[in-house]
């Protein structure tokens, strides 16, 4: 059981905005984003770091925000699903999911999209095998992954020549 530990001050950048807060030490980053910053696009789907619905970008890397303490994100630059589209224009990966029916219930989708953004940032021309491998940490129960893979291929083909992250 947790006794009363003093709150921890943190400062981080989320979707380009500086945020400062005092958090209970045990607060997970995902709950800080959801409950304190009201960025509810990042979802929680399990309690064992398997499903990946909570995936965000932290310092440019895709991480599962259910397995990072908010305190560990002190000083970090965080991007969530809410930070991808700019001026009403979808990020290419979001556009790919729209074009290729890459989502059904939408619950795993933010995590899938963030994982795919990280993949294309680091590997703009992935093979299908590389896409499947990149998605190993993200579970979807609706799509059978078929159209998620198609969505990411669409984004890679359409925007592979450009920097897809921005």
């Amino acid at each position: 059981m947790t006794e009363n530990f003093p709150p921890v001050p943190i400062a981080l950048t989320v979707n380009g905005r500086k945020q400062e807060a005092r958090v209970e030490p045990r607060t997970l980053l995902v709950y800080f984003l959801r409950d304190e910053l009201r960025l509810t696009g990042t979802h929680v789907g399990c309690d064992t770091t398997q499903c990946g619905a909570c995936t965000i970008l932290m310092n440019g890397r895709a991480v599962k925000s259910c397995t990072v303490l908010a305190a560990q994100a002190n000083g970090a630059e965080v991007t969530t699903i809410e930070g991808l589209a700019h001026d009403g224009k979808l990020h290419p990966v979001q556009q790919g999911f729209y074009e290729k029916h890459g989502l059904q219930c939408g619950y795993c989708t933010p995590g899938m999209v963030m994982t795919a953004v990280h993949l294309l940032d680091t590997n703009p021309h992935p093979t299908e095998e590389e896409i499947r491998h990149a998605l190993e940490g993200n579970l979807c129960r609706c799509t059978g992954y078929v159209n998620i893979i198609e969505s990411i291929r669409w984004a890679a083909e359409k925007f592979g020549e450009k920097d897809v992250s921005r």
């Binding site: 209970e24 219930c105 619950y107 078929v146």
Partner: protein, 772 residues
């Protein structure tokens, strides 16, 4: 207001989904995203035992902890129980309290609940409740639960049998007496977890002075759950508003009213504050209804030439420890389609539904269909092998023929339409079947284990009951559709808008689909059993027709023409022969809410409660090629061909998505997924660490095909498609795996076909064969 219209018609086009921009930008609203000021959070303490008496409970320490507002045990909630309807005459319904009283009958049963100011403090307090248990003997396996001397899963009853039900037709004994050959099998379908990625949740918000209660629930069936909630709480239904916001998948498991929903509402009414409960994945693993777990013992009687004469099936269905509203349902479904797509004039099917000390079962994608298809398709393959008849020819010989529809089966169910050979032939064509068989035989000669399997199946959809649809033309001519069919990922907002826009000849952006709110939507049913396009679509189509007819009369009045001379035109109506002069929906609406001639009722809104009093029987053929590594037992799907016939297709992209997802779940069932309990009822696969759902790397390429046999009894000609993947694919894989193992003399293995299971079977067979 643009009046762009797609002249080619919207039904049948792969329109991109209306839902997606919201969901893709993180702006969806699932239950846990509902954040009300002053919310208290609920945590639940659950039984670690499968069967035990509760000796004592002490909540004193928990009640004193920081942030805790209230702790409740079963002693203080004795009136709160989960209502279970009688689905089968003579069915036993043991008590189902929302908090255990006196005893627990499965791991995960709530024994106490806490509300506190934060989620974490509530959980801390729940962990501080002391409970002393006295363990009792448990029973886990349904067939063992029927043996003499088996422990009683529910000590209130005198046996473990919940109900026995029978369906029969023809003269089964005569059929078996006249048979040249009888095929016998015993097949167990592995217990499955639905595993929608969004866990369940509830937010209950009471209005002051008992005026009402608004509840956000992650549910597939808001109206039905509301009625059950009212019954459970003793709070009037018409004062409860249930909202199913965005729902993150369900697959059947979000159908019933769950105990935690009642508890959250009870706390909210008790304390006059909003209460939120969000399940953890671990909670869901031990408390949501699970699927399958039916053991089937069957005999199929045939003539030497392959003519099927009779079928006997005995199903022992594991219901788990408690009954939810739909727990008794799947075995009924299994019975109703036991003869599959074959002319079997004599059948006797019996279900023995059994209580055990396990998580309750209920509908999971297919809900009795996958068990039934698995049973008959394994029997047919085995019959072909034993009679030395080609399995394709055996199927063709016994298919119900297209000219026999509507066809009443021996178990008293009427199929509307079908052309089973057409789907089979298409699957054979798409797969290059002859070549596949040649390749398989070559591989066999090299000692490799390769099998080709097919399943030909029916997919009953629509289900019992009605669905509702309202079409309202607003004052500005915008169209609002209220449907009782509430979505949890199936794309209702897109396909219903396609239907409405096509029928009204407006563009889709002028149509808004509203669902999942009992205050906004007339009584409805929900989404399960592949029913939305059939039932929700049927209700919508009829309501649209009525709106069009009324609007035609209004247009005729406005144009001073006879109604029979008024025809629909893009964005409104015109007089036949004068296509350029259009009265728009906006003008018609203005008249409907303004001045109408005497005798015409104001308004432009129609509601239909649609009940075709029959199901829609889709069908298909799935084909799989499976290779098994002889050394390691590791199976690989080398080809997967899926031909489905769901009648008229509204949106091919969405239909394909349904097939992909269902097949992926079917692959999970066939190769990996199984909920396991130890002999004492302890949970072995209680998290995603050890319950193996398919990942992106596990899914082989899928080749999709279709045939289209319109449903003659539906206004849109549609049939359901949501469950074909879990119905058709696992039996095709089972038949492929057993075909691959046939050279070793292995007769049958139950799913899931994990590498260790196959490895052990191969080694044992080799040892047997070496001994000669």
């Amino acid at each position: 207001m643009t009046t762009e219209h797609k002249p080619a018609g919207l039904i049948g086009q792969s329109i991109r989904r209306v839902e997606d921009p919201t969901l893709l930008t993180g702006k969806g609203c699932y239950v846990d995203d509902v954040q009300l000021p002053g919310t208290l959070h609920m945590a639940v303490l659950r039984s670690p035992y499968a069967h035990a008496r509760i000796v004592s409970m002490n909540t004193d320490r928990a009640a004193q902890m920081p942030g805790v507002e209230r702790v409740l045990t079963g002693n203080e909630t004795e009136r709160l129980t989960i209502p279970s309807p009688v689905m089968v005459p003579g069915q036993k319904i043991p008590p189902h309290p929302v908090l255990a009283r006196g005893a627990v009958h499965a791991v995960g049963v709530p024994v106490a609940a806490v509300v506190a100011t934060t989620r974490a403090l509530a959980q801390d307090a729940a962990n501080a409740i002391d409970v002393e248990y006295d363990p009792l003997p448990a029973v886990v396996d349904a067939e063992k639960a029927l043996e003499p001397g088996a422990p009683l899963a529910r000590e209130e009853l005198d046996s473990n049998v919940c109900y026995i039900a029978t369906k029969k037709g023809g003269d089964v004994e005569k059929a078996f007496a006249e048979a040249d050959h009888v095929v016998r099998m015993h097949i167990k379908s592995p217990r499955q977890v639905a595993m929608a990625i969004e866990p369940r949740g509830a937010v209950a918000n009471p209005e002051p002075l008992g005026r009402g209660l608004t509840v956000w629930l992650s549910t597939q069936s808001p109206h039905r759950v509301r009625a059950d909630l009212a019954t459970a709480l003793g709070f009037p239904e018409h004062k409860i508003r249930v909202i199913a916001p965005d729902v993150g998948g369900g697959f059947g498991s979000k159908g019933p009213l769950y105990r935690e929903y009642v508890l959250a509402c009870h706390f909210a009414l008790l304390l006059g504050r909003p209460v939120k409960w969000i399940a953890t994945r671990s909670d869901d693993f031990v408390t949501m209804i699970q699927g399958r777990d039916q053991a089937m013992t069957s005999e199929l009687a045939l003539k030497r030439d392959g003519t099927m004469l009779g079928l006997k099936v005995r199903v022992v269905a594991n219901l788990g420890a408690y009954l939810y509203s739909n727990t008794a349902g799947p075995p009924q479904r299994m019975m109703a389609m036991a003869p599959g797509c074959y002319q079997i004039r004599n059948a006797h099917v019996e279900v023995v539904a059994v209580f055990t000390n396990t998580v309750p079962t209920g509908p999971y994608r297919g809900a009795g269909r996958p068990e039934s298809v698995l049973n008959i398709e394994r029997l047919v393959d085995k019959a072909a092998r034993e009679l030395g008849i080609d399995r394709i020819e055996l199927r063709r010989k016994n298919f119900i023929r297209p000219d026999q529809f509507p066809y009443r089966t021996a178990v008293g169910v009427e199929y509307d339409s079908g052309d089973y050979d057409k789907a089979l032939s298409e699957a054979l064509r798409l797969s290059g079947y002859e070549q596949l068989i040649r390749e398989r035989d070559q591989a066999r000669r090299r000692g490799e284990l390769v099998g080709v399997g097919i399943s030909t199946f029916v997919e009953p959809s629509g289900g019992a009951g009605f669905e509702s649809g309202t079409v309202r033309v607003e004052r500005t001519g915008e169209i609002t559709v209220l449907t009782g069919s509430s979505s949890h990922g199936q794309g209702h907002e897109t396909i219903f808008a396609q239907i409405a826009a096509e029928k009204l000849r407006v563009s889709m952006e002028h149509v808004a689909i509203r669902h999942g709110d009992t205050l906004a939507v007339q009584q409805g049913v929900g989404t399960f059993g592949s029913r939305s396009a059939v039932m929700g679509g049927g209700a919508l189509a009829q309501a649209l027709d009525r709106v069009v007819e009324k609007a035609r009369r209004i247009a005729a009045h406005l144009m001073e023409a006879a109604p029979e001379d008024v025809i629909q035109a893009d964005s409104g109506f015109a007089v036949a022969g004068v296509p350029n002069r259009i009265v728009t929906w906006r003008q018609i609406a203005a008249a409907a809410y303004g001045r109408l001639p005497p005798g015409m009722e104001p308004g432009l809104q129609e509601t239909v409660f649609f009940d075709p009093r029959r199901e829609a029987w889709g069908f298909g053929t799935h084909l799989a090629v499976v290779r098994i590594d002889r050394e390691t037992g590791r199976p690989t799907v080398e080809k997967l061909v899926l031909v489905d016939d769901c009648g008229v297709v509204i949106n091919p992209m969405i239909v394909e998505g349904q097939i992909h997802g269902g097949v992926a779940q079917g692959l999970g069932e066939a190769f990996r997924e199984q909920m396991l309990f130890g002999d004492g009822g302890e949970v072995i696969t209680g998290s995603l660490v050890n319950y193996a759902v398919p990942r992106a790397g596990d899914i082989p390429p899928m080749i999709l095909g279709e045939t289209v046999t319109p449903n003659p009894f539906n206004p849109l000609g549609v049939k359901g498609v949501g469950e074909c993947g879990t119905n058709g694919a696992p039996p095709a894989i089972a038949n492929a795996v057993m075909d691959a193992l046939a050279p070793l003399g292995i007769d049958h293995l139950d799913m899931p076909y994990t590498a260790p299971k196959l490895w052990a079977a191969i080694r044992a067979a080799e040892a047997r064969n070496a001994r000669g």
